[in-house]
């Protein structure tokens, strides 16, 4: 069974056929997906701005990172299940969209980066991490998240 067959099978399952036949369900799930975007945006931005030397400059990075992390996880908890549902509705359409795969690749990369390198840099003693490295980490994080978001917007266009 190929990936395309899987997409076809998901999209045509009775649950997803029922979801598509409701005129309200898709836009409502898409709206909740947008809430996730805002939550992730806020929790990522406060830390990345701080790593760039902007925003809450007077607090240690580790403190801001520790406070923001639960909200990042909550944002992901909102975004990922709703995103999976949105994907399942039109799985074969997304299968053929390059932007969808760009978004998935960026998402995978940014999650790996966030919970390894960025987490380590943000949580460690600032005097041991140079400002150049902090900034680089923030820029990588912001670029990857932007790529996820732009990919997300572009796959929504007909």
């Amino acid at each position: 069974m190929t990936l395309l067959d899987v997409c076809r099978w998901i999209q045509n399952s009775s649950l997803l056929v029922a979801m598509r036949s409701s005129p309200w369900l898709f836009p409502i799930v898409a709206t909740i997906h947008l809430f996730g975007l805002a939550i992730i945006g806020g929790s990522v931005l406060v830390v990345d701005l701080r790593l760039l030397g902007l925003g809450l400059r007077r607090q240690p990075v580790s403190q801001i990172a520790r406070d923001a992390e639960p909200w990042l996880l909550r944002g992901l908890l909102v975004s990922i299940p709703t995103g999976v549902l949105l994907f399942m509705c039109f799985a074969t359409k997304y299968y053929y969209l390059t932007f969808f795969w760009v978004k998935m690749a960026s998402l995978l990369l940014v999650l790996l980066f966030t919970f390894s390198v960025r987490r380590k840099v943000a949580m460690s003693d600032e005097t041991r991490i140079g400002p150049v490295w902090s900034r680089l980490v923030a820029l990588v994080s912001l670029s990857l998240w932007t790529s996820v978001a732009i990919g997300g917007r572009l796959i929504g266009f007909p």
Binding site: A38, G41, V44, I64, W71
Partner: protein
């Protein structure tokens, strides 16, 4: 000049037509409008959560506000400009969109909430600046703000979906729908 006349006039301007008919410009503006959510609502969310005592509780509330609000404001400015352009691209479609109408009312309410917070609770911030969980009136302001932005996002997301449910172009409609959406009698003039 009535609002309807103004929208009709706006819809007939060459730049409005150009923006609406453009291959990429409209989609770029729309993308900017949606993605600025991360900056605008994202930072507003962190502010509101601080007011609710749900994040950055060891950072003084005034500091969170002072350091993050410029970013919220910048995001808001981009939102308003891109939003105004989206309106300008299709004034008659927005005029006759129920969700757009309610969204504008919710926007006014959100602005009122900010103004009320500024002129009451925020004035006495020195008394509770260091409290991990701010007093009830600050929490209410934060909660109302969060609820209103969530409503605004929802209404904004629903604007294009009116087309599938009860759009003015789908007649006959019940009188209440036509009134609330401001459907104009001549469907041809309501094209954009």
């Amino acid at each position: 000049m009535s609002l309807l006349r103004f929208c009709q006039w706006l819809a007939a301007t060459p730049w409005s037509i150009a923006l609406h008919e453009s291959r990429y410009m409209y989609l770029i503006v729309l993308t900017v409008h949606v993605l600025t959510l991360t900056v605008f609502v994202g930072t507003a969310l962190m502010l509101d959560l601080r007011l609710l005592g749900m994040t950055m509780t060891r950072v003084p509330a005034s500091e969170v506000i002072a350091r993050l609000l410029p970013w919220t404001t910048a995001g808001f400015v981009v939102m308003m400009i891109s939003g105004a352009l989206l309106f300008y691209a299709a004034p008659m479609l927005r005029y006759q969109n129920f969700f757009f109408r309610v969204k504008m009312v919710a926007l006014v309410l959100a602005a009122l909430n900010v103004w009320m917070f500024r002129s009451t609770v925020y004035r006495g911030i020195a008394e509770w600046d260091l409290d991990p969980v701010p007093p009830r009136r600050a929490r209410v302001a934060g909660g109302v703000s969060l609820a209103l932005w969530a409503i605004l996002i929802t209404l904004g997301r629903m604007i294009p979906y009116q087309l599938y449910w009860f759009d003015c172009s789908r007649q006959p409609q019940s009188a209440i729908v036509n009134t609330l959406s401001g459907c104009i009698a001549d469907p041809d003039s309501g094209h954009r």
